[in-house]
Symmetry: C2
Subunit: 248 residues, 2 copies
Amino acid sequence: MSSSSAAPAAKPPIRDALVAAAFRLFLERGYEQTTVDDIVALAGVGRRSFFRYFPSKEDVVFPDHERCLADMTAFLAAGGAEHEPVRRVCDAARLVLRMYAENPAFSVQRYRLTRQVPGLRAYELSVVWRYERALAEYLRARFAGRPDGTLRADVIAAAVVAAHNNALRSWLRSEGKGDPGAAVDHALGYVQKTYGRPAQAAPAPARAASAAAGAPAGQADDVVVLVSRRDAPLWRVVQELETALGRG
Amino acid sequence: MSSSSAAPAAKPPIRDALVAAAFRLFLERGYEQTTVDDIVALAGVGRRSFFRYFPSKEDVVFPDHERCLADMTAFLAAGGAEHEPVRRVCDAARLVLRMYAENPAFSVQRYRLTRQVPGLRAYELSVVWRYERALAEYLRARFAGRPDGTLRADVIAAAVVAAHNNALRSWLRSEGKGDPGAAVDHALGYVQKTYGRPAQAAPAPARAASAAAGAPAGQADDVVVLVSRRDAPLWRVVQELETALGRG
């Protein structure tokens, strides 16, 4: 899954050494008690090397978010009109999960650290905000010209991020046990069910009938939801109901 | 609307003077170029007075969020089982709008400032996060024991905050012109329509019958929504339907 495990030489070894040294010291002494000088001493490089890779001590805690944000932006930009927009942003969110899942032990350590250090929590919030804006900007473009386009874009982007993070945090709290992919798929499925167009929408006859009387708005395995105008003739509604229940 | 305009003496005048002095200097010189010493000199008080009211220079930019967060928490805690949960969190979000709308000129100035100063943007994100967590914690308690209770709570809280902020920011970008209340009502209405139970939920007899066969899950003015188990006897479903349509 990780390109680094397949081809370790592809990542600059100094960068990896700095991240490893930083986390070792953060866990041993605490984040606040560790200086950039401590990190470079343990990694065996100079201060300038540190700042070549990371603008600040905070950035070494989140070494892969910039790459992931760039990947997400590129992924969204590569999408065409044939991609259902809500599905596309859900798939974009899965890139973030993949980054966390590439290295469970590191992700769990970092999660603990961000819970303890308010400055890192604030940093993380700003990163999450940038992911959310990337998703929202994509949806705003896709919904341009539609009523409430920016409202829907912002709400759906927030829902996607919240669902993703709900599943991601459960996994992190469980010490990285179990399959985070399945949990995130389930959470994003909830958002897609709410806002997305189904891959194969309701069959044409049911849609056609919806204008006349009642129409099955959705079907789970053993539940039928019927939406009807109050003034629809009862026989039409029952007809729809029979069709929906598969007894027509 | 504002308690301060109705009874100015209720707020400590020193606190107000510090906020006024700070904003005058922020706008004249810029936020970074203004020190706490500059602020206290202009307000005619000592440094200790400043820190009695505000832990840091950042906090003077957002003087009312702590009160608003406390109001929101109290409002949510005062809610009972009779309050539809999604409506309740939408009403809680309106408390934030009210705070902004109390003083449009100040809110617009602050909005411009937070756009320019990354540190203030980060501060604002952490405040927004605390509002979102307050709403999510309330919903988690209300949805406790339901399938996907925490997922739904987190997603709905995020959707409420995103909708509220979409409308609030449009109003702030328009220099505080127009009625922010109507815009926020519209935006929150979108979320309530998506996730909430309609204001007048299913009548008691229908709820009682829901275990047996089908039950009207909600009624708008001229639409009936019927949720039914697929294997329910058709006659029971039609009976429910007749009741829901008021023709039983």
